[in-house]
Symmetry: C2
Subunit: 326 residues, 2 copies
C-alpha cells in the first residue's frame, strides 16, 4: 500500500511519517491490514526521509493540478492531507489561503475520485471552524460560524470531505484537532503560536511573548496525542463513522493562567519570569473566538484519546522534545 502525506515536511507530517514507518502497516478502506511499502511526503520544502527506502520526498506545490494527478496513482490507499497555510498567514494573504487550503484540497479529492478505488483520506481541521456566539460546551450539533479565513477554508474542506465520502469517491475522515501544544521549534504564523511559545521558550531559557489575557481558555492536545489521533482516526472502519465523517477530538481545556502554573511546576519561577505580556488585539480576537471546550464523546467512543491534563502535556514536551528526544 502506498500512503501519501501532504505537508510531509511539516511538524505533524514528519512525526506521522516516522510513526507509520515504525509500525509498518495500516488498515486500508476494505478493512484489511496492509503493509506500507511506499510513503510519499510532498511539501514545498524538502522532507526528511529518515534514510528509509520506503520514503519518497517530493518537493512541489499541491495547488499544481498536474503534480497532484501524478502523486495520486492507482496504488494510493491512503492520503493524510496535512499541508495548509496556517491561520495568521491565511488571514494576511487571502488568495494564498484559498489556493492551498481550498483549491488544493479539491484537487486532491478530485485525484482520489479519478482513481476510483475509494482511498482513505484524513483531513485535519481545527477549532477555528467555530466562532461567533458559542454554547459553554460546543457540541457536534453546534453550527460552524468561522470568523477567520483559515476557519472558513477548513469548514469548506470538511464539507467537501464529507460529500466526497457520501458519494463514495473517498473513505474520508475529518479530524478536528485542538490547538497543538507544546509544539517544538520556532514560533510560526498560526494565531495560536503562543500556546506553545509560552511553555517552550521559558523552558529553553528564552523569552516568550503572550499576546492574550491570562483568563483566555484554550483547548489543547499534545503532539504525541495528535499523532496518536491521526493514526487512530485513519484506522477506524468507515462503517463506524457512518454519515458524519467529522470528529471533534478530545483535548484538555486550560486557561493561560493555568498553563503558566504548569510551567511554574515544570520550570520554576525563573521560567515564569521569562513570559512578557504584550496584548495583540488581532490574535486575541481570533483565538478568543475559538471554543475552549467541546464535547468529544463521539471520538472517545471510537477510541481516540486526549491527554490526562496540561501537566502531562508539558511532561510530553520535556520527554519528547526538550531533552533531545524525538
Amino acid at each position: 500500500m502506498h500512503v501519501v502525506i501532504t505537508g510531509g515536511a511539516g511538524f505533524l507530517g514528519q512525526r506521522l511519517a516516522r510513526k507509520i514507518l515504525e509500525q509498518g502497516v495500516l488498515t486500508d478502506s476494505a478493512n484489511r491490514l496492509s503493509t506500507v511499502d511506499r510513503l510519499t511526503l510532498v511539501d514545498v520544502v524538502p522532507a526528511n526521509d529518515f534514510g528509509d527506502a520506503r520514503i519518497k520526498s517530493v518537493v512541489g506545490d499541491i495547488a499544481d493540478a498536474a503534480l497532484v494527478r501524478e502523486l495520486i496513482g492507482a496504488d494510493v490507499g491512503s492520503v493524510f492531507h496535512l499541508a495548509a497555510i496556517v491561520s495568521g498567514q491565511a488571514e494576511a494573504d487571502f488568495d494564498l489561503g484559498m489556493r492551498i487550503n481550498l483549491d488544493a484540497t479539491r484537487l486532491l479529492l478530485e485525484a482520489c475520485r479519478a482513481q476510483g478505488n475509494r482511498p482513505k483520506f484524513v483531513f485535519t481541521s481545527s477549532v477555528a471552524v467555530y466562532g461567533g456566539a458559542l454554547p459553554e460546551v460546543v457540541q457536534d450539533a453546534t453550527a460552524l460560524n468561522p470568523r477567520s479565513s483559515y476557519g472558513v477554508e477548513k469548514a469548506i474542506g470538511e464539507l467537501l470531505v464529507n460529500e466526497y465520502s457520501r458519494r463514495g469517491y473517498i473513505d474520508g475522515r475529518v479530524l478536528r484537532l485542538p490547538t497543538i501544544s507544546v509544539r517544538p521549534g520556532k514560533p510560526n504564523k498560526a494565531a495560536s503560536s503562543f500556546a506553545s511559545g509560552i511553555i517552550r521558550e521559558p523552558l529553553n531559557g528564552e523569552e516568550a511573548v503572550c499576546p492574550v489575557a491570562p483568563e483566555t481558555r484554550l483547548w489543547l492536545l499534545s503532539p504525541r496525542g495528535a499523532i496518536r489521533a491521526l493514526l487512530r482516526g485513519h484506522e477506524i472502519a468507515g462503517d463506524a463513522l457512518g454519515d458524519s465523517r467529522t470528529l471533534n477530538l478530545p483535548g484538555v481545556s486550560v486557561s493561560v493562567a493555568e498553563m503558566v502554573e504548569a510551567l511554574r511546576r515544570a520550570g520554576g519561577e525563573d521560567a515564569v519570569a521569562r513570559i512578557r505580556w504584550e496584548a495583540d488585539a488581532t490574535v486575541a480576537r481570533i483565538v478568543g473566538g475559538w471554543p475552549a471546550v467541546w464535547d468529544a464523546s463521539r471520538a472517545l467512543a471510537l477510541g481516540l484519546e486526549g491527554d490526562a491534563d496540561f501537566d502531562a502535556v508539558v511532561r510530553a514536551y520535556v520527554e519528547d522534545d526538550l531533552r533531545g528526544g524525538r
Copy 2:
C-alpha cells in the same frame, strides 16, 4: 445604479426583475436610495426584457470567468445571484453542480471584490443545507450537515458570502429560502418539484405524481413571499446583519396531507383525485432530510415576512398564476 441578476431568465429571476423595474429604486450598500437605471439579466437561456430599456439580457454561462468579469463592472451596486443547478440535477451530475453552484459563485464574488466598491450581494440558499439528525425546530445555531450535493454547494456558498462580507469585499446576505410552492409552469429537476406539482397540476385539470408519504412535512413559501423576501433581504442595512449574514426565512410548516386538504378546499374532490401516489425513495430521502420548520425569528425581527398559512399560499397561486395573473 446597475443591478445584476444571475439566473435572470429563471422563475424567481424574472419575477424579481419585474418587481425591481416597478419600484425603480433600491438601497445601495451606503444606505442611499438609488435609482435602478440598468438591470442586467444573465442566464444560459434568453431572459424576457419586458420591453423595458433598462433591462439588458445577456445569454452566457456564469462559470465563464471572462464573462463574469465583464458583467460585474464598477457601476454594479447589487448582485442577486440566483443562477443554480437545482437539487435533483446536482445530485445526478456532480461536476455540473460544482461548476455552477460553487465555482461560478466564487467567480462572481471575486469579480465583486476586484471592483473594490463593496456591492450588495444576495445569495439564495435552501433548506437543503440541513440534514442528518435535526432538532424538532431548527435554530440559527444548528449545525449544517447537508446530505445532497446541492446542499453542500449551497452551504459552501454561504460560507463564502459570509467570509467575503467579513473581509469587506462585499455587503453580502444569504437568504435561506423555504421550498417555493406553488411554482407555476412545468415540473423541474428539483427534488421538491412535487411540492408545487401536487397543487398546480390538479388545479389545471392534470394528473400529478406525489413521490413522498402524506406525513412528510415541508417548510414552504409562496413565490410572492419569496420575491418580497429577496427585496427586503436586499434592503436591510448591512450593520443590522452584523457578523452573521445568513437568515433563515419565515415559512409555513405543512404536511403533504394538509396540502392535499387545502387543495380539496380550493379545487374539490376532483382535484384531489388527480394526485397519483407513487413512492420515489431518492426524493423521499432527500426531502425527508430537510427541516420541516425552523426558527425564523431573526428574519422576522428584520422585517421579513412569510405567508399566513398554506391556504393563503394556494390562494396566491390562484390569483397570481392560475387565472393568467402575473
